[in-house]
Amino acid sequence: MKHYKPGSSIAALLAVVVVAAGACGGSDSSGGAPVTEGGPVALRRLTSQQYAQSVHDVLGERIVVPSRIEPDARIEGLLGVGASFVSVTPSGFEKYEAAAIAIAQQALSAELRGANVSCEPASPSGSDDGCATEFIATTGRRLFRRALTEDEIAMRVAIAASSATELGDFYAGLELALASLLVSPNFLFRVEEIEADPADGSRNRLTSTSVATRLSYLVWNSTPDDELLDAAESGDLLNTDTLAAQAARLLDSPKAEAGIRAFFSDLLTFRRIDEGLVRKSPTQFPAFTLTLAGDAKEQTLRTIVDHLVTQELDLRELYTTRSTFLTPSLGSVYAVPFGGGAWGPYEFAEDGPRAGLLSHVSLMSITAHPGRSSATLRGKFVREVLLCQDIPDPPANVDFSIVADTSGELRTARERLGEHVTNDACAGCHTLMDPIGLAFENFDAIGAYRTQENGADIDASGNLDGQSYNDAIGMGQALRDHESLGPCMTRNLYRYAVGRNPVPGEQVLLTFLDERFADSGYRWGSLIDALVLSDGFLTASGQREAEEAVQ
């Protein structure tokens, strides 16, 4: 995989910083960005993906991480935001405890301990405080994303020593110490700490270790490595040059692919596929197997990574690109020849009906019912997720029977949904959603192409906020050209990075970030760079009150 060139976009950004600082009094050190104050910080519980990725990074890829841990919560459309609003339930703690023990046993098994414990105990059948201290301090630093205090180390060395003596096994003692690290709130939660900004006592900034953690989970979806922690603990990370260099280093790492995958998986709700929540009628859609569902998600993620990272292309063209990756099972649904049994690149035909992510099986399946497509869900997805426009929830007493009856006189979705716009209570929202979703009616509930529904020809034409189209291809082009597409992606990435919705004062920052994004030709790396160096990423108004509602 091709990675970001080290410092390429960062360097360009810094060049602009210098120019801007010279030309415009009042701009700060972050590239002409407006001086703003970030919103409140909060404890952010690791998502299940972050938990697993962190364990793998610290203790090795061969660790089998139990999947039964506290479920993630999606709030305001993102698990990354929900993580700031969840705690650990008693039953959840039991799951974390069981997972911790299972992980510790594996990490310190005879097979893996050599890779995880750098020192040799004086005796494998007894305690060794020196070796235990080294392991706990080293491993704990990666897990807690900061250096452990002396008390935190001493407490666990004592656990390791007493257990080793009791059990006659140094590594068994160390297992308990490691398990205690893994169930600690300091591991399970990303603790974002703030301090007074020495340059401006009226403002708070994140501590350097908190910045390191934000940066690492944004770019890698995992815990910081030793080099980033070194930069944080020395305080250098709060220096703009150092931060830019570290951001570039992380973006250039192969681990950055996990980061971009995590963000888009969250945004596009792919967790629903992972959890088996995207189900289809097996009699109507026998092609929708578990293999197909997994491949569909992977197809879209591969397309995104290739487009944004490998090719460094314009993000907006994700909705028009014909380049993708397929497996034979996907080829069957797309009705295109693709054999060989493995993943491979594929180009949808120029005169074919597919282009862009919204013609993928993944998104067409997620935004559909088990037995039929849903123009409403598809329109809602585009409005809310891709354009950041609010669609109110339907009234509780809405009658779905006409829309759900696909065997009645109203043969196409367009005819059935026409009933909605005759009802004033429904029309307000459905006129926003349905015309968009109807553009995708040529794709059934699993994304297979069709030209008719119940024997009637499908009309996929429509209009997106003034731009007309005839089909999904045209809809993708209209979306690509929509003025809200870029700003919405900026807003979503920002929310994902800071774990909350923007506060009112941050709108000027979002506008600035979007301008930078647009200036770069909507290159992903440029958006990450600008975001990481922004006040919104580095400062905070304070700790969020526990009782504070979602903004």
Partner: protein, 313 residues
């Protein structure tokens, strides 16, 4: 039908081969598929169709008529008059009674039925039938088919059929059935490519032959070739499927290798021992060998169903 000249078959075959070289589907040099971008459309409407169409066999097995197995009752046998003779049990050599087709056509050959009808494991949905039906889905005996020269799915007076083994397994859905529009490669060994049958489509029914069909399979412990000679095929071409029969001559030696010996080794589960099997083979109705004065083959009918697929090399 069997009087078609060899030269005419060869000419059509060469023409088909030339056409096939230029017929590629979207992106991968494959033939076939349906509905999707760049694929073929099904029957109906004007009947327009692409030149070459691929299929994967989704169901296969001996023909088991639904009606009285003694004489197929009123349904008749959907086969072919392979020997161009309305035969009877007193017409040597290879004397046998013929069956009557559903449309009243006499002379339908299905000599193997005299053996199949006798034993429970050979009946519909029983041991052998189940094994074969599974084998075409799981890759043990997967078969693909290509129709060539198809200009009209309803009526076309010059089409070709070729059948291939494939080493690929068809995609199977949640209902256990073969999914359409998979991509499968023809067997790399041309030994397992049939000769090319020529024929026509009339009112949506394709008939083509004669041709020799050679299939490779490895079902459980049976690693064998199957050669069906002087075969004919009839297919009802639907919107998304093709179904029909494949009839031809199957040698006693191969039947023994593939069914007789392996099945009789299963003892009671087989329902017959090898001695009984060999006795049943005495009823062979085709392949008369003057040197030995023996009939060495059975006329056989397989039913088949197929769904569209993309075929590659």
């Amino acid at each position: 039908m069997k009087n078609d000249s060899f030269k005419w078959v060869l000419a059509v075959a060469l023409g088909f081969a030339a056409a096939a070289c230029g017929s590629t589907s979207e992106g991968a040099g494959a033939t076939g598929g349906t509905a999707g971008s760049g694929g073929a459309s099904g029957a109906g409407g004007t009947g327009a169709a692409p030149d070459a169409m691929g299929y994967v066999i989704s169901d296969f097995g001996f023909l088991h008529p639904e009606a009285d197995p003694a004489d197929f009752g009123m349904e008749g046998v959907r086969g072919f008059d392979l020997d161009s003779t309305v035969s009877s049990a007193d017409t040597p050599p290879c004397a046998h009674d013929d069956f009557v087709a559903p449309d009243g056509t006499p002379g339908i050959d299905y000599g193997l039925w005299s053996f199949l009808r006798q034993y429970e494991p050979l009946q519909k949905d029983q041991l052998i039938d189940s094994v074969i039906r599974s084998a075409v889905k799981n890759g043990e005996m997967s078969i693909v088919m290509e129709l060539g020269g198809v200009d009209d799915m309803l009526n076309d007076d010059a089409v070709t059929v070729q059948i291939f083994s494939t080493q690929d397994s068809p995609l199977v859905g949640t209902d256990g059935e073969v999914l359409p529009n998979g991509t499968l490669a023809r067997h790399p060994d041309p030994l397992y490519h049939s000769t090319i049958a020529s024929g026509a489509i009339k009112d949506g029914v394709l008939e083509a032959g004669p041709f020799d069909v050679s299939l490779k399979f490895f079902i459980q412990i049976v690693d064998a070739d199957m050669l069906l000679t002087d075969s004919w095929i009839r297919l009802d071409l639907g919107d998304a499927t093709a179904s029909g029969v494949l009839a031809g001559h199957w040698s006693v030696a191969q039947i023994d290798e593939i069914i007789g010996t392996p099945t009789s080794e299963n003892g009671e589960a087989a329902g017959f021992n090898h001695t009984e099997f060999l006795a049943a083979m005495e009823a062979a109705d085709a392949g008369y060998d003057e040197a030995s004065d023996e009939c060495t083959a059975f006329t056989t009918i397989f039913r088949l169903e197929a769904v569209p697929a993309f075929l590659t090399e």
